[in-house]
Assembly symmetry: C2
Homo-oligomer: 342 residues x 2
């Protein structure tokens, strides 16, 4: 039994805390606003290719492993918390708005195949059979049967019901886990994590059935309908320091491609427009590793924090069990950017 203090109550920190508690460790989470950072503005797409990033091999392995762990994680969390997470694993529709976008979608389809992931290319007519609310103007797409989604706010609430969260700084613990998103940079000098602003919309309306990953005029947009009628549209990526202003341009950049792909969204209620700060890193891959004795970092998950929460939590559990992080996670030590420490 180890005493563990987790700094940061987003999905990463909360998932770590819950998995450690399950293993019998003594755990506390410290966050003045748990669930209020990047978690609160995440859409919760669970895409094994991350959000369609073409990165390096170790990151692909991590994302694939993360996607595979979600079904068990979702079932265990729903059972332990007795809460509905709005978890679904019934696939995602990739859609191209223009011929240019169709080329981008084709590259993604090839990428899925190379990763050994199931993918089904679709003509324009077939893509509209999958999701009849799509515009007659869409040029084609693909079906990704293994992709899923979950409501990140529900995940955070479920985890918060299971772990002790405090708004005070931690007492001394045997292991301190720094999972404070972009703010982790203020806790570990030199940690290469920065805020990347994301604006996101919540609409409300019925009829849309499928998660849509759209490409329109070289812009990407995702549209995530949930069973309760909420439809999340996201997300911008902006380098604006810690500014979290919702701007006219951010909202326009989301609504324009979303309504172009799904004209019926125009009739949906605009319930909320929010902005949050994702933890970005120089190579868009997470920062997971022991930075000094008794202190481990778990941040930098950028756009994939929800997807990567279970695999990150399992890595910290393994660190407690064995004294080492799993091989899967070793390539993501924060010192990978500084040649001298390699």
């Amino acid at each position: 039994m180890t005493t563990v203090a987790v700094i940061g109550g987003g999905v990463i920190g909360l998932a770590i805390a819950w998995r450690c508690l399950e293993r019998g460790h003594e755990v506390s989470v410290h966050d003045p606003d748990p669930g209020g950072g990047a978690t609160g503005v995440a859409a919760g797409m669970l895409a094994a290719t991350g959000e369609a990033r073409f990165g390096e091999e170790p990151l692909h392995r991590l994302l694939l492993a993360a996607a595979r762990r979600w079904p068990e994680f979702a079932a265990a969390l729903a059972s332990a918390s007795k809460k509905d997470l709005s978890y679904r694993s019934d696939g995602t529709v990739l859609v191209a708005g223009t011929d240019d976008d169709l080329r981008a979608v084709t590259r993604l389809v090839d990428f899925h195949r190379r990763c050994g992931l199931p993918v089904q290319p679709l003509t324009a007519a077939e893509v509209r059979e999958r999701e009849p609310l799509l515009s007659p103007r869409v040029r084609g797409g693909a079906f990704l049967p293994d992709d899923g989604q979950v409501d990140p706010r529900r995940v955070a609430r479920a985890l918060m019901s299971l772990v002790p969260v405090s708004d005070t700084p931690p007492e001394d613990a045997e292991l301190t886990v720094i999972a404070a998103g972009h703010a982790s940079a203020g806790l570990v000098p030199g940690l290469p994590v920065r805020p990347v602003k994301g604006q996101i919309l919540r609409l409300r309306g019925m009829g849309l059935t499928r998660v849509i990953r759209g490409h329109v005029a070289n812009r990407s947009v995702y549209i995530v309908p949930r069973a309760d009628g909420e439809v999340v549209v996201g997300a911008t990526e902006e380098e604006r320091g810690t500014d979290t202003t919702v701007t006219a341009g951010g909202v326009l950049d989301l609504l324009r491609p979303a309504v172009a792909l799904v004209p019926g969204l125009a009739e949906y209620e605009l319930v909320e427009a929010t902005a949050g700060l994702r933890p970005g890193t120089p190579d868009n891959a997470p920062l997971i590793g022991v930075v000094r004795p008794g202190v481990v970092v778990a941040t930098g998950h950028y756009r994939d924090g929800v997807l990567l929460a279970p695999v990150t939590a399992d890595a910290i559990v393994e660190l407690l069990d064995t004294g080492e992080l799993p091989e899967l996670v070793k390539p993501f030590h924060p010192n990978r950017f500084t040649d001298v420490h390699r």
Copy 2:
């Protein structure tokens, strides 16, 4: 001295109440949510041509008279209430986004000339000299030096500070004034007034100096910057009954032309998106007249309630003084649509 009960605490009802009080009458206003109807979602443009409607001669006379009365009304209200109304009369810039729109602007310029209103046609370069934040793509426009603006919420608050407002129904009064906007139809059977939904945005940011009445791809949009940094963008016109949902399509229909005309608005904060119900009529002109002994109607001001508030208030004062409405207002009796009563 007459006892006057005004049903409806929007700018029309409140202005009537204030002017009647000033003349020594005993006045009460009845509204469970004063200032909360069409007033709360009005931009407060004071355009002598109404919102650029090409209507009939009596309506033009009324709008012109209304515009002429605003300077005195604004000065008297600011003085009596000791409140700043954000009143300005430094002109409006008409702007065309495309060649098609330029033809629409040219028609408006001709219309202003025929009305004897000052108007100054501007080339694309000249229009950008007037308002440097306009896009280099604008095709031309005009300057309307007599148009002004006022903050309708401030006007309502100033008036509310001067008149007694109650949320209970009125007691018996010698004169009952029905100024309840579209809801007046529920108080006077057969009154031809209906709700017309308008969605409006409030942005925040500095730099824009001029009120802009824009035409972009056959859509009109107005952009009203106030001294305190608030920028109102309006407004949609939708026939949706009493629905006041803010929709994705409504917000998109405002942001798209506004950002096309003034690209810098993309950086402005989106503070609020709201929807309200204007009182529309079959001919888009107001309904002002005695409908039965002791009951006068003053509604149906559609998009011009703020502009028409002073002239409407003066008309009711004249009714109390002389027993008759002024000639200017007589063409707007609600019975004008029913031949049998003419």
